[in-house]
């Protein structure tokens, strides 16, 4: 989270747009910025997972056996927040189709295969993959990628999760019981099931790069955090994202 926020701040200060792809060292539950969590997720420690709160909106995501992405762009580079959201999701759809996955965007007000409430911080179902917002990446009526944004004055951060295997059910089972697992299985899909095979990570990364470059008409160059960015990320972890005060703010 600290690195994603750092990328947002760098772009806000004039740095080029950035695409980051990463995985988690251990299973982790990430909460939406405004998601009520104190009563619902304290027991999430039973998952033996760490818990963080994102700077972006939306609901809980269980990060395990998945690929996480983050995109930071200037406001207007891809349009406003909603245009940016749709452009990034189109890039993912392009990437997935290169892997043989028939992905498409959720239509306006489209329910997932299981009827579910709209994504809302106080939703009775606290998980991101329970419902799809318009434009989100779907396969056969089930949500494949969950994404959320943070918009600051001159830059937008969008990040999200592509489950590689069906790990969301683990969290749902621990939080809501076996009945909810069946529902979660219908609402969400992981890449292995969508593709009908386990996609090797190098192939997935190549497809993502190709999808984003073709859809957005850009060229991507490898980069690393600058020394000031590394310091800023460390400070953000220490002062915000790594603190109980932030994680349990609601």
């Amino acid at each position: 989270m600290s690195i994603d926020q750092t990328l947002l701040e760098s772009v806000q200060a004039g740095a080029p747009p950035a695409l980051r792809l990463y995985r988690w060292a251990e299973p982790c539950l990430s909460l939406g910025r405004n998601q009520p969590a104190r009563d619902r997720f304290r027991d999430a420690a039973r998952l033996a997972a760490s818990i963080v709160r994102r700077p972006t909106g939306g609901l809980a995501v269980y990060h395990d056996r998945e690929l996480t992405y983050a995109v930071a762009v200037p406001v207007g580079w891809l349009g406003g927040p909603r245009a940016t959201y749709h452009a990034i999701n189109r890039s993912w759809i392009d990437a997935l189709r290169r892997l043989g996955v028939a992905a498409g965007p959720a239509r306006s007000s489209q329910p997932t295969a299981r009827a579910a409430p709209a994504p809302h911080p106080a939703s009775p179902d606290p998980t991101c993959f329970a419902a799809a917002a318009p434009g989100e990446v779907m396969v056969r009526g089930r949500k494949l990628i969950g994404s959320a944004q943070r918009c600051e004055r001159h830059a937008i951060l969008q990040h999200g999760s592509l489950p590689l295997e069906a790990a969301q059910q683990t969290m749902v089972r621990r939080l809501a019981g076996a009945d909810a697992v069946a529902g979660a299985s219908l609402a969400a899909i992981a890449l292995a099931e969508a593709a009908g095979r386990v996609v090797p990570m190098p192939e997935l990364i190549d497809a993502v790069v190709a999808g984003f470059t073709a859809t957005l008409g850009i060229r991507l160059a490898p980069a690393v955090l600058s020394p000031p960015e590394r310091l800023r990320a460390a400070a953000l972890a220490d002062q915000r994202f790594g603190t109980s005060a932030w994680t349990w703010r609601r």
Binding site: R33, N34, G57, G80, Y85, P121, A148, C151
Partner: protein
């Protein structure tokens, strides 16, 4: 076309300022254009009454369909009250941005800053609807 009331002042960040019956006290919210761009608002984070806010300082956030956006104060002042009704019904920001969807009641501390705000025609041109 967005609604742009003729008796309000506006910012380029799509906030508005609305006079109240009390001298020097204004209501602050986001414009009809802004709520349309955001989509369905699901949560509004507002400051505590009594807090002092500087011009263009972030006073809260609004969440709409998983996008959290900062809210910027149009002018410097003290927060007199916040719209607690948005806790139960954040969709008021969408359905009634200039009425029930107000966010802050602000007592202006630097009246000269009002001169830097946009009138309705200027704001309309800013959003490409003028």
């Amino acid at each position: 076309m967005s609604e742009i009331p003729g008796d309000l002042l506006y910012t380029e960040e799509h906030e508005y300022l609305k006079r109240t019956d009390e001298e020097g006290v204004y209501l602050v919210g986001i414009t009809d254009y802004a709520q349309g761009e955001l989509g369905d608002v699901v949560y509004v984070e507002l400051p505590e009454p009594g807090r002092s806010i500087g011009r263009m300082e972030v006073f809260g956030t609004v969440e709409a369909v998983k996008a959290v956006s900062d809210l910027y104060s149009p002018i410097s002042g003290e927060v007199v009250a916040v719209n607690t009704g948005l806790a139960d019904d954040p969709a008021l920001v969408n359905s009634d941005p200039y009425g029930g969807g107000w966010m802050l009641k602000l007592r202006v501390s630097e009246p000269s800053e009002l001169d830097q705000l946009l009138g309705p025609e200027e704001y309309g041109r800013h959003i490409g609807e003028g």
